[in-house]
Symmetry: D2
Subunit: 298 residues, 4 copies
Amino acid sequence: KATSTDRSAQLKQMLLSPKLEFIMEAHSALSAKIVEETGFKAIWASGLSMSASLGLRDSNEASWTQVLDILEFMSDATTIPILVDADTGFGNFNNARRLVRKLEQLGIAGACIEDKLFPKTNSLLDNREQPLADIDEFALKIRAMKDTQQDPNFCVIARVEAFISGWGLDEAIRRAEAYLSAGADAILMHSKQKDPKEIEQFMKAWNNQGPVVIVPTNYYQTPTDTFQKWGISTVIWANHNLRSSIKAMQATSKRIYNEQTLVNIEPNIVSVKEVFRLQNDQELVNAEKKYLPTKSKK
Amino acid sequence: KATSTDRSAQLKQMLLSPKLEFIMEAHSALSAKIVEETGFKAIWASGLSMSASLGLRDSNEASWTQVLDILEFMSDATTIPILVDADTGFGNFNNARRLVRKLEQLGIAGACIEDKLFPKTNSLLDNREQPLADIDEFALKIRAMKDTQQDPNFCVIARVEAFISGWGLDEAIRRAEAYLSAGADAILMHSKQKDPKEIEQFMKAWNNQGPVVIVPTNYYQTPTDTFQKWGISTVIWANHNLRSSIKAMQATSKRIYNEQTLVNIEPNIVSVKEVFRLQNDQELVNAEKKYLPTKSKK
Amino acid sequence: KATSTDRSAQLKQMLLSPKLEFIMEAHSALSAKIVEETGFKAIWASGLSMSASLGLRDSNEASWTQVLDILEFMSDATTIPILVDADTGFGNFNNARRLVRKLEQLGIAGACIEDKLFPKTNSLLDNREQPLADIDEFALKIRAMKDTQQDPNFCVIARVEAFISGWGLDEAIRRAEAYLSAGADAILMHSKQKDPKEIEQFMKAWNNQGPVVIVPTNYYQTPTDTFQKWGISTVIWANHNLRSSIKAMQATSKRIYNEQTLVNIEPNIVSVKEVFRLQNDQELVNAEKKYLPTKSKK
Amino acid sequence: KATSTDRSAQLKQMLLSPKLEFIMEAHSALSAKIVEETGFKAIWASGLSMSASLGLRDSNEASWTQVLDILEFMSDATTIPILVDADTGFGNFNNARRLVRKLEQLGIAGACIEDKLFPKTNSLLDNREQPLADIDEFALKIRAMKDTQQDPNFCVIARVEAFISGWGLDEAIRRAEAYLSAGADAILMHSKQKDPKEIEQFMKAWNNQGPVVIVPTNYYQTPTDTFQKWGISTVIWANHNLRSSIKAMQATSKRIYNEQTLVNIEPNIVSVKEVFRLQNDQELVNAEKKYLPTKSKK
Ligand SMILES: [Mg+2]
Ligand SMILES: [Mg+2]
Ligand SMILES: [Mg+2]
Ligand SMILES: [Mg+2]
C-alpha cells in the first residue's frame, strides 16, 4: 500500500511537471475509490462536496475533525494522492499546524487553504461578502504549515480569492507572490467568471513564478489545451462526482417512487456484486480461509 | 421540525397500516434528503450502503459509533422516519440497549436487528457461512431493547435469517413467533432467492400474526401487488440509491478522464445551484441578514 | 432519568434564585459523576480542564465536536444540569446556533460564551493579547443562540472579558447591558486579579440588572458571603477537580516509580470495587440475569 | 518526536530485556503525560480506566473507535511506548486486523488481547461468567494481527484468562503455548487471587518459553523482586492513576462543597500555571511570536 510519502511525492511531481495534470473530486471513500479506478492520478477532497454529502453548508458547519473522519476513510480506501480542500485552515496558524500533523498521519498528500476568514463562504455563491484574510497573517499561516510538516513532500497550496472578492489582478499577483515566498508549493487562482479572462490575465502577469492550479467549474467551456498553453500546472474538476450522484439518485428515487417496482431501475444501476467488488470482499473471503478455524477444529 | 416521537409514530403507523408501504434506502444525509424530497414516507439506513460508502465491507468493519455519526447527519437533514439497519445490534443485549438510547437521542424512528452473530456477514454474499444466533438469546435482546426505549413508538424490527442460513420454513416461523412474543414491532423476513417462494410460504404459514417487512433485492421482478395480496406490510428498496450513484460516478469520472473536458458532462449533472439548494443555503442568507452586524455598525 | 428540560429548568432556577449558588468543575464523565454524588447542584464543563485532559491547550485546539464527545459522556453519566464553557461559540453566529442544537440534543442545560475571537486564549495566561469581539456581532450571536433553542429553559450565559482585556468598568457595563438586552440569561463577569475589586466595582455599577456569575480562581481568598452580599447569583469553582487529580496522579506515579511496589499506595487510593460502583456495574449484573439466557437453555 | 517505530522497538526491548520492567496505567492524554514525566518507560492504556473515565462499564460499552479517540490524544501527548488493553480485539480476526492498522497509524506500540468473548467482562468482578474463546480461533486472531502489522516491532501480547475462568494450570500452559506459537510477542498471564500462587505455578511450568507480563492488582503485596526471581518480564500497574484521581476528586469536591471556599483546597492542588505547563503553553507563546503578524503590519 502506498505510504503517505509516496503519495505526497506523486502530488508534488504533478504540480511540478510541465504537463497539464487533472485532479478529480470525491467526497467519500467510495467516490474516491471510483476516481482511482478510473485512472486519475489524484483526488480532490472538495469542501463543497463533503459538506453537501453531510447535509451541511459549505460554511464550516462541519468541524475540522468531522472532515478528518471522511478523509481517513478516503485515504484508507485508495492509494493515489489526496489533496484536501482545507478551507481557511479552520482557524489561525495554530489550528492549521494541527491540521497538517493530522493530515500527514492519515496519509493525505496535501492541503489547499484559501485566504478568507473563518467561517468561510463558498466562492461560487452570489451576492455574498467574501472578506479576505490579512495578507501577512495568511502568509505566516502558510509558513507555519510548511514548518510543521514532517514529510518533505507534503504539499501546501495557497488559494487566492482576490478575484472572487472583486479585488482584481494587482491584489491577486501581490498575494500569490507573498504566499509563494512564504513556502506554498503552488498557487490556486480561483475565478467564478463564466469565461477565463481573469485566469488568462493572471497567467500573463504571473510569468511562471510557480505552479498554478485552477478550478474551471464556471468557465468549463474553455478547452483544456488553452490552459496548457497558458502554463497552468493542474486542473481540478471540483464537484462533478457529487453533482452526478445527485442527478442519479434523484432520478432513481423518483422512478421507484412512481413505479413501485425495481424492474425498470435494475438495468440502470450497478449490480450488488459490483458493490461487493468495490468493497473488496474477495480479500475477506481469502482471509477467512486463513484465519477462521475450520469447523472440525471447533 | 419533526421530533423523534413524531417520526417513530409515523413509522409505527406504516408498519400497522393495511396498505403496502415503501421505504427507500439512503446512506448519507444528502441521499436521505433526496429520499424525503421524492415523497417517500421513510428512509432505510442500509448497512450495506453505509459501509460501502465508507469504503468498508458489510461485516461490522465500521464501529457502531461510526454508524451513529452517519445517522446523526441523516436525521438532522430530514424530517421523515429513519429505520436503521442495525445488523445484530453490535454485540449482546447490553450493546443493543445502549444503541437504542443513542438512536432515540438522534431522532431515529426504529432499528432492525438480525438474528446472526457479531461480526455479521452480508446476507446476499455467495458461499458464506451465516450462523444464526441462539433463539432465546436473540429474543431477550429484543426484549431488552423494547424495555430500554423511552419513546413508546420507537420500533424494533426483528429480522429473521433462517432462509438465508438454509434452515427453512419451520425455523423461520419458530423464530418469527419468538421475536414477536418478545416484543418486536414487526418481522423482517429475508430471502435471497430470485423468486419469492420462501416469502410466499412464510406469509401463508404466518397467518398475519404481526406486520411483515420484506427486502426484494433479489426477487425484484415480483409485482408489488403480489406482496400486497400476501399481506406484506412494508417493502424496503434496500440499496438502489447507492447502486445508482455508483453507476453515475463511474460514468462521469470515466468521461471526464477520457475527454479532459466538462462540456459533455455539464448537461447530465445537476447544477451547482441545485447543490446549494439541497444545502438550504437560502436559510443562511436570511440568517446572515438577521444576525451579522451591518458594516456601518462595525 | 432527568430530561434535558428538567436540567435546564434547574439551571435557570439557580441563576434566578436569590441564594448564592455553586457550580463545580468536571472534565470527564467520571469527574462529573463525582461532582453530582458530592451534592453539587450543577456541573461546569470547563474548557481549560477538558482541553488539558486531552493534552491540548485552551486555545480551541480541540474541535467543537471533540468537545461535544466529552459532553455526551458527561451528560449520560449524570442527572444534574451541565453548564458548558463554550469559549467564543466556536465561530460566528451560525456555528453558535449549531452548537445550541447539539447541546440540547445531548441534554446539556446551558452554554457560556465569551466575547473574544476564535481561536480563543485562556484568560488567566500572562502577557497574552485578548482581543475582544465586536460588541454588536457578539450580541447578535447571543440572540441567534436564544432564537435557536427549542427548550425555553436552555440557558445562554454571556461572559464579558472587558476586565481581562484591560478595558475597564465602563466597557464591562456597556457589554453586559448589550448582551442582557440581546437575551442572555446571565452575565459571567470575569477578572483575573488576585483581589475582587473589579467584581465589586462591577456589581455596584450593575445595580442588579440581571444574574451575575463569577469565577474566583484568582481571587479565591474572598469569603463567599462577600459575594452573596454583593448580589452575585452563582460562583463557579472552575478547575479544581482537574488540579486535584493532577496532584494525586503525579504523587502516585512518582511513589510507584520510586518504590516499585503498590504496598504504600493501596491505602491512599480508592478500591477497584469503588471503581465498579462508580461504573454502576450492579445494574449490569441485574440486567444480565434478566436478558441473558440461562445455560440450560443454550 | 518519537515515531511509531521507535516506540514499538522500545516496547519490544522491554519485553525481551532480562531486567524486570514496569508499565504504568493512564486513561487520558493528561495522565499519560504524567506517567512519562515521572520516568516510566511505557504506558498501559487500561480498558477499565478508560471506560470508567467515560462513565461506562468495562464491558465494551465504548466502541472500539471511541477507544481509538482516547488513544490518539494519549499518543500525541507523549513520546514513550503505549501498550493498549485491547480487550478481545473488539470482534473476530478481521476486527482485530483493522485495529492493528489503526493503532499503528496512531503511533501505538502494541496491543494486548485477551482470550474471552466479545463483549468482555472485567476479570476482577466477582461471580461473573468469563467464557473463554476457542483456542484455535484466538491463536488465528493473534496470527492475523501479526500478519497485518507493517511495523516489525509492533507488539501483540496474548492475555490468557484460564486462571480467571477457573480452568487451572494445564489450560493456562496449553493456551500460552498456542498463542506464542501463533506469533504473540509475550504472554500476559492474569490472576485475581490475593496471593501469587497461580502465577508462581505458571512460571515454573512455563520454563521461560517466552516473555511473561503480569498485572498484580490483587496480589500487590508480593515484593517485586519475587517477580524478578520467577523470571517475569514486565509488571503492569494497571489502574492506580485512575484510582488515585478518584480519591482526590472525591475529597476535593467534598471539601469545597462543605466549606464553600477554596482557601483550604488551594495548597493541596497544583497551580493553574502547572496546568499551563502540562499543556506546553510556552511552545504556543513562542509560535505566536513567529507566526502571528505584529500589530504594526495589520
Ligand atoms: Mg471548497
Ligand atoms: Mg444490512
Ligand atoms: Mg474556559
Ligand atoms: Mg482491561
